[in-house]
Amino acid sequence: MKSILFLTALCTATNMLFAQNEKFLDPSTCPFQFGAPTTITKKGDSFNHPRISPDGTKVIVTKTYTGVYVIDLKNTTPVQTITTEHMAGFDAKWSKDGSEIRFKECAKQKNGKTTKELLKYNIMSKLVSNDNISYSKTDNTSKPREITVSLNIKRSMVEASDGTRTWDITKTPKVYYSYVISPDQSKVLIHENGKMYVYAMDGSGMLCCLGNGHGQSWSPDGRYLVYFLGVSDGNVIIDSDIYICSSDGSKRWKMTNTPDKIEMWPNWSPQGDMIIYDEDKSETIEFVRVIQK
């Protein structure tokens, strides 16, 4: 209990420090070198929320949840349309072998009925079907079970489950949201009150606070995160850049510094060699090559 409270206090203090001073390290100290941005979609196509396939050759995008599309990075035309349903495309993700895309269609009225579906799209057969079993099912049941993280809304706590048991990740009831599990499933990043916190997946508590940030994605080795920091005028996001930080919160660097662009929703490729994101001002998808120094 003491350690948790101490960490909370420490993180709050750290957080305030970052929020107030916006301290970022010199780019020369960043362990990564970033290439020039490459635009892969046409201006005004309005694609966003890109997610790179396991082999790094394809990207899922949505149009603010009014459809799901696949872009082939080796051949940007034509864009493959999976669905144009409204309210479709939330939480789109690739299966581990890249053969399927899973996404959600959220609650909506359809033929007089309220529906909410988990769907999957097979790359080979090009068919969409229901995937209502669970996101947590692994492709090979002989492997260790995949851990899922969810919000217990009655208790206002974040819980983890491996299919056989459920345990608490957070320690106190609060308004938590946006959970992203690290590649090795040892940690989970959880948002609370606009700030990012890293928790141990084993339930031992909070590890560190990363400060303000949104739309985060882990590096393949789990040592870094990429995220964006937006500035709002109260109505819309008027500026946003992408940042990298170490997963223990000790270091952070600016990846983009472009007042004329609004870069958001970054995604680190499974190979670690690319970060893809959407640029909201021109409504395009861009990526940069990442080279570890």
Partner: protein, 855 residues
């Protein structure tokens, strides 16, 4: 067998498909971090309004017994530094939607900005992700807009532009970030314009903020309620205090869901609000029998509910329409539009919340709680006047009954009673087997919280009226049985609570000492915890701790008169607490260093008091080497970990037993058991407050504003005017209503109640109405607009004022006054540039702001 399985499955399907809990995510809009801070006054107005209205809405939903809705705010506080980006606010709602698909609804509350003259309310929705003309989404937004126009009394900006609410991109040319990525129906309402002076005055008004919140509440309820009541009509109107009226009501309901629903519907006459722990079996006053329904989407059906027993209506009763799906045990409220319309029950009555804690070991316990209006005395007979008005002759609310059969020894009972605001005075009674105790609540204000602790076993006696008489007062009417408050020195088991503008004023008598306690729960200052392993050296007022819902009261043990500070928490309390003591002067300014102590005593959450923490105050003072003397005032601050730090402050006034005020100029407030005034010259603004007796001897000169009262209820007083004796009736809780109409150069007033006598003598007495003095905790600015000077008239207690500030429209401090306050002051504004200025009156408990225009 197959049939049984099928039916079971059908029932289960119905149950599951009718799981109706809703989650309302409320976004209080901008806070001070947003970049819209172009005009500080405007932004401050918007931030405060958003936050206050959001929390009022949260409170309305959470205290509504019939709704099992979960409320989530998109940020935990209104502090600078806790801004949550619009996308994150949507992400919060989406996280709940993931777990409860189709049950989450979103409302973003904002205030508008324009050119200073624009006015009105407008509502936006984002249709980007939805199919065109998503009916539920548009209906929701339209309902929010309509309710804000009607109940908020705003100009209909959206309607005036295009006849209805607007899709954001259509009007604004962009999608609002907070709505853009929502997975569920959501809308954004701009209440009014925070840069329009007229709108701003309305936005900053607490009463209007309550109306805005209620407008939202009804929009949510009427849009997302499961079974919408289209209309109701009363065929036979039930009457007050009559035993021969039958009630007949026609109710038309409509299924607004997208699937067929089936169940039962019933109508009940209940008190409002209902007790929080009601069980499904505790029904009473049902009009007729249950009706069954099966409704396809959008289908309507009309039912007639006809009572088959005479109904006696009482103030505070409400018509409730309830339904439950087939196979479901609990009755849920459908929609209750009638509780105000039917009986005109004022919603702004005093909500009395009582908690009875049971520390007995016996499992046979229980208690009941009710309130009644204090009987009015006949002017000639000095007896309860039953003929003057039925409405004030001791009407009782039906007792809130704590079921003894389900009560364990360590349980507490929570009670809620609504007392109409037109009851100027009420008595809340708590009764158990052994005895009863009463807590006098007067004057009635918006919210009083009364926590009652008893050391006696709580066991229900017979004839308690716990349901045997439909809708009537309990057997053994408290108006006759419990006519005399049991308040005596040395055995006090109750305390009085008066909530005045958010502050609570407590008086407390124990043994031969009299204590007055001023508790100031507002404003709540807190910061994030910065130390965990607290030691006294880090325990100070600048790094204090977070407050959660925790009450602080004082109570005594009957026999040995220990006075204890007790607190209750909604969740288990932790085992340690801090106490801070600091000495104050009459103006509550600190005059000594802070004494702090970390108390290691364990608070056993399993003790019979059940989640009550207490500390022996005498022990605390002794351990902190503080010796109390007459006239001392101490601020005591308590912090408890439960598990977040909770802080409460309480002020202790150690009163002298007898105070002789002789040959000196009086100023401020004087408290004592007995006060004698002799040869005085009262300058102005003097309050004489005694618990027993006030004597103003002849030849005492009194001038200016003078107020003298004992802080208990006065049952009767009489006046000797030279050779004649005139009797007065006290209709108004000791407020000298008759006295105000009585003029005489020389008169002697004699106040009498059960326990004490007060004699006052005055030749130019101007007794200010105590109630009004407290309620008028506001100030006026005139003239407005101003040209050269502005006058500030304040009717509250000037000793509470810390400073008066004038800020210009950019937030620059133009003028600040920190002393020499009076109730009417003049400021020179001649050198101010033309524009809008904000006057802030900063008090010890809060700040009040007004806006004026300099031409």
């Amino acid at each position: 067998m197959k049939k049984t399985v099928f039916l079971t499955g059908l029932i289960l399907f119905i149950i599951s498909s009718n799981a109706q809990d809703k989650i309302i995510v409320i976004d209080p809009g901008h806070n001070m971090d947003n970049t819209t801070t172009l005009q500080p006054i405007r932004t401050f107005c918007e931030v405060q309004t958003n936050w206050e209205v959001a929390n009022k809405l949260k409170s309305i939903i959470e205290t509504n017994f019939y709704l099992d809705w979960l409320v989530v705010l998109t940020r935990p506080d209104n502090n600078t530094g806790s801004n949550v980006l619009e996308y994150d606010r949507a992400a919060i709602a989406n996280a709940y939607e993931d777990q409860a698909p189709g049950q989450v609804y979103f409302l973003s509350i904002h205030c508008n900005g324009g050119n200073g003259s624009a006015t009105g309310t407008e509502t936006f929705y984002c249709n980007q992700k939805f199919n065109t003309n998503n009916t539920l989404l548009v209906k929701y937004a339209q309902k929010v807009q309509d309710n804000m126009v009607d109940q908020g009394n705003w100009a209909d900006r959206s309607g005036n532009r295009n006849g209805g609410v607007e899709e954001d991109n259509t009007y604004l040319g962009f999608h609002l970030a907070v709505l853009k990525t929502l997975k569920m129906p959501g809308c954004l309402n701009e209440i009014g314009f925070a840069d329009n002076v007229d709108d701003m005055l309305k936005l900053e008004n607490d009463g209007w903020r309550s109306k805005f919140a209620f407008a939202y509440f009804e929009a949510l309820q009427e849009t997302f309620g499961d079974l919408n009541v289209l209309s109701y009509s009363i065929i036979n109107l039930p009457c007050f205090a009559s035993s021969s009226n039958y009630c007949k009501i026609s109710v038309t309901v409509k299924n607004i869901t997208t699937q067929s629903i089936s169940g039962d519907i019933r109508t009940m006459l209940r008190h409002f609000p209902m007790k929080s722990y009601e069980t499904p079996t505790s029904d009473f006053c049902q009009l007729g029998t249950n009706k069954s329904y099966f409704l396809t989407p959008n289908q309507e059906q009309t039912f007639i509910f006809d009572s088959n027993i005479p109904i006696t209506m009482e103030t505070g009763m409400a018509l409730c329409i309830e339904s439950k799906p087939w196979g479901k045990f609990d009755w849920n409220k459908v929609h209750m539009p009638s509780h105000r319309d039917l009986l005109k029950v004022p919603l702004n009555g005093a909500l009395i919340k009582g908690v009875i804690y049971n520390n007995a070991l016996s499992p046979l316990q229980g208690a009941e709680m009710w309130s009644y209006q204090k009987p009015r005395l006949n002017s000639s007979s000095n007896k309860v006047d039953n003929e003057s008005s039925n409405e004030i002759s001791g009407l009782s609310f039906y007792p809130d009954f704590y079921d003894p059969t389900t009560c364990l020894s360590d349980k507490s009972g929570k009670y809620e009673l609504l007392i109409p605001v037109d009851w100027n005075e009420a008595v809340v009674s708590v009764r158990n087997y052994m005895n009863f105790n009463e807590v006098l609540v007067s004057p009635i204000t918006d919210v009083n919280f009364i926590h009652y602790y008893t050391t006696s076993p709580i066991i229900i006696g017979t004839g308690s009226g716990s349901g045997s008489v439909p809708c009537g007062p309990p057997q053994g009417s408290p108006g006759t049985t419990f006519s005399n408050p049991k308040i005596t020195n040395g055995s006090l088991k109750t305390f009085e609570g008066i909530t005045i503008n958010g502050e609570r004023d407590l008086a407390f008598v124990c043994k031969d000492k009299i204590f007055r306690l001023g508790v100031f729960p507002l404003p709540i200052h807190y910061s994030e915890i910065s130390h965990y392993d607290c030691t006294p050296s880090v325990f100070n007022t600048t790094t204090f701790y977070k407050i959660v819902d925790c009450s602080l009261g004082i109570y005594t043990k009957e026999e040995n008169c220990h006075w204890l500070l007790g607190w209750t928490c909604d969740i288990n309390c932790y085992f340690k607490y801090f106490v801070s003591l600091i000495k104050c002067n009459n103006n509550l300014e600190y005059t000594s260093d802070e004494k702090v102590k970390w108390f290691e005593e364990r608070i056993d959450i399993d003790n019979p008091y059940n989640k009550i923490g207490d500390i022996d105050i005498e022990k605390v003072f002794a351990q902190m080497n503080v010796v109390l003397h007459e006239g001392d005032i101490y601020r005591l601050k308590l912090a408890v970990l439960d598990p977040d730090w909770t802080e409460r402050s309480i002020y202790f006034y150690v009163l002298s037993e007898n105070e002789l005020l002789e040959n000196k100029t009086l100023l401020g407030k004087y408290y004592s058991a007995n006060i004698t005034m002799k040869d005085e010259s009262v300058s102005s603004n003097v309050s004489i407050i005694a618990s027993n007796e006030i004597s103003i001897l002849p030849n005492t000169t009194i001038g200016g504003t003078f107020e003298a009262y004992i802080d208990k209820n006065i049952l009767q007083y009489s006046c000797t005017n030279q050779s004649s004796v005139k009797s007065f009736n006290d209709y108004n809780n000791g407020e000298n209503d008759d006295l105000l109409n009585y003029s005489s150069d020389i008169m002697t007033l004699k106040f009498i109640n059960e326990h004490r006598t007060v004699t006052t003598f005055s030749n130019t007495c101007s007794c200010e109405n105590k109630k009004n003095a407290y309620q008028n905790d506001n100030f006026e600015i005139f003239p407005n607009p101003a040209t050269s000077t502005i006058n500030l008239k304040y009717s509250g207690d000037i000793s509470q004022i810390l400073s008066i500030e004038i800020l210009n429209s950019t937030g620059t401090l133009m003028l600040k006054k920190t002393d020499g306050f009076s109730n009417q002051q003049q400021f020179n504004a001649e050198h101010f540039s033309p524009g809008v200025y904000c006057v802030r009156l900063v008090k010890t408990s809060k700040a009040i702001s007004k806006v004026f225009i300099k031409n």
